[in-house]
């Protein structure tokens, strides 16, 4: 049931002792990097600054901008000859961010991912197909090494080319996929179009979905379409990549591996901790990384701690399904919302498909939102029925968002097909 029972079910007091010890070592190690070396000297921070985990609040936050400003190696704490791998973000807005790993870092990362996979029931008898992009994107190599560590037969199929993915699934008897949620529904649709029943004609039983916020409704739909159990995984390149947090078989929140990171959830404005159950920004401190330790890294991902113990027996804290990045939040007419709130409503309606697009534009100097959603198929020839459906969807959306969006039902297949990370929001607002 457990990959590392002693660590996964460790008493909280023991776990916190381990965290404190590792945090102090991390401060010592981080001081060797040009960035933290200078910052800690200025602030007078030494390992002794931290006498208990409460002293974490005395340490400075680290932001994505800090990573960019210290591109490429300003945060590396060990000599480069001891580093063996580098991953980088795309850097579409300014400098990319870079994360450098030692061999031990890579081994630990693989162990983290293997632990996640074992937790959801995957074993060395499984055939694991990874549909992530490889190369710089950490979902590729991260899962590759994790699955190999687990001992599964690993198929590095990489992204795209649905027909080839399906051929692999059938020929190799793939039992598990790592896949982006929007692509999971797309792949299921291609199977149906090819006359393949995912339940009868494939051996798939489990998928790991992540990299995109998705609603519980979307998960249920994917599980039904493919006849699998779908587990939510969370990671980010700054924290290695996949494996930071993962759902257990309870499918109720994601366990954060607290022997690897110390999680905090803070109010993004005041930066003060929020109580359990309240949404804030996830802040992570790496405590088991050699090459590039990060102190109180602001992930910009919004979530909350789930109170209470998990019936699975693991003591590592759980966070709720991610609501999106703080940068995904849309502010319209003074109301904040996340695209995932819209998805949650749309997925209630069985008449609708899985593909949708939210467009925000300025019409007569008014900001308006248009939601286009594909019909599953035509199920009536009566305008009145379609208009009623439209009204029902709008009413539910209004209850959720507190303003009335425009809704357009569109024909199946008419919105752009999502094969990479889904683009759900087009913001065409004119800045005045």
């Amino acid at each position: 049931m457990y990959w590392q029972k002693d660590i996964e079910t460790m008493q909280r007091s023991e776990l916190e002792k381990l965290q404190l010890e590792r945090l102090r070592k991390t401060i010592e190690r981080a001081s060797n990097s040009p960035y933290y070396g200078k910052l800690f000297a200025e602030m007078g921070i030494t390992p002794d600054t931290v006498q208990s985990l409460n002293d974490l609040s005395k340490l400075p936050f680290t932001t994505k901008d800090d990573l960019r400003a210290n591109y490429p190696f300003g945060m590396v704490a060990i000599p480069l000859e001891k580093c063996v791998r580098l991953h980088s973000s795309s850097g579409t807005t300014g400098n990319p961010t870079v994360v450098v790993h030692s061999q031990k870092d890579l081994d630990e990362w693989a162990n983290q991912v293997a632990r996640c996979m074992y937790m959801v029931g995957l074993r060395n008898t499984d055939v694991f197909q990874n549909t992530s992009g490889y190369g710089m994107f950490t979902g590729g190599l991260g899962f590759q090494y994790g699955a190999e560590k687990l001992g599964a037969l690993t198929v590095p199929a990489a992204a795209g080319n649905s027909k080839r993915q399906i051929k692999f699934i059938r020929d190799f008897g793939t039992t598990c996929l790592h896949i982006i949620p929007s692509y999971a529904t797309r792949l299921a649709e291609v199977m149906y179009e090819e006359g393949i029943d995912p339940v009868k004609d494939t051996a798939l039983h489990t998928i790991c979905i992540g990299a995109e916020p998705h609603s519980e409704e979307q998960r249920k739909r994917i599980e039904k379409m493919l006849g699998v159990k779908a587990y939510n995984c969370f990671g980010m390149s700054e924290m290695n990549g996949p494996g930071v947090a993962f759902e257990c078989p309870e499918q109720n929140g994601l366990h954060i591996w607290e022997d690897y990171v110390i999680p905090e959830i803070v109010d993004p404005i005041t930066l003060q901790p929020v109580p359990d159950g309240q949404v804030g920004e996830l802040v992570l401190t790496t405590i088991n990384r050699e090459a590039m330790p990060l102190i109180r890294y602001r992930t910009r991902d919004l979530t909350c701690f789930l109170p209470g113990d998990c019936p699975c027996g693991r003591t590592h804290r759980r966070v709720a399904r991610f609501r999106g990045r703080s940068d995904d939040m849309v502010i319209l007419k003074g109301v904040n919302f996340f695209p995932i709130q819209i998805e949650k409503i749309l997925m209630h309606f069985k008449e609708l498909g899985s593909n949708y697009l939210i467009t925000i534009e300025t019409v007569n100097s008014n900001d308006e939102i248009l939601i286009e959603v594909e019909l599953n198929d035509l199920f009536t020839d009566d305008y009145a029925v379609l208009q009623q459906l439209s009204r029902d969807i709008i009413r539910e959306l209004k209850d959720e968002l507190l303003f009335t969006p425009r809704l357009k039902l569109v024909a199946k297949g008419s919105l752009p097909v999502q094969e990479g990370k889904a683009v759900r929001v087009k913001d065409l607002r004119k800045l005045i």
Binding site: L375, D377, L378, F379, T380, D381, D382, Y383, L386, S390, L407, K408, L409, V410, A411, K412, G413, S414
Partner: protein, 142 residues
């Protein structure tokens, strides 16, 4: 007594009709009657064709949202307003409402394509009044 009408979901977007008609033309399907209403956000095109089942299969396999419905196609011997009026009056007298209707002329006859709020009573009126309806076999010959 009824025939299959094909309904196609159309977005209110420039050029969407062409795709549907191109597919039917390529498959050499004859369109006998067609109607599109001027709604705002989306539309439904209704079609009577010579081979509805095949047309439906062609559209579906090309990812067009289509739906088959049973409609009555009542043949009136002459395109005169009196005959038209009398035909509709028979349904009204039986308490029926017309949900939608359109017509085409075939060989000098006026054909009314009709859907009412109650197919069973409509069937009954047609039988009692001995009205003539087009059948699938008739369509195939057009």
């Amino acid at each position: 007594m009824t025939i299959n009408q094909i309904s196609v979901f159309l977005e209110n977007k420039y050029g969407t009709l062409n795709k549907v008609l191109d597919l039917l033309a390529e498959a050499e399907i004859h369109v006998i009657a067609a109607t599109v209403a001027d709604t705002t956000e989306f539309g439904i095109m209704r079609l009577i064709v010579n081979e509805p089942q095949r047309a439906y299969a062609v559209l579906k396999s090309n990812n067009v949202s289509a739906y088959l419905t049973d409609v009555f196609a009542i043949v009136l011997d002459r395109a005169s307003v009196q005959i038209f009026r009398d035909a509709i009056a028979r349904f009204t007298q039986a308490g029926l409402s017309v949900e939608y209707m359109y017509s085409f002329v075939n060989d000098g006859d006026l054909v009314l394509v009709l859907r009412t709020n109650n197919p069973e009573s409509t069937r009954e009126v047609i039988r009692r009044q001995e009205m003539i309806c087009l059948t699938e076999n008739d369509l195939a010959k057009l």
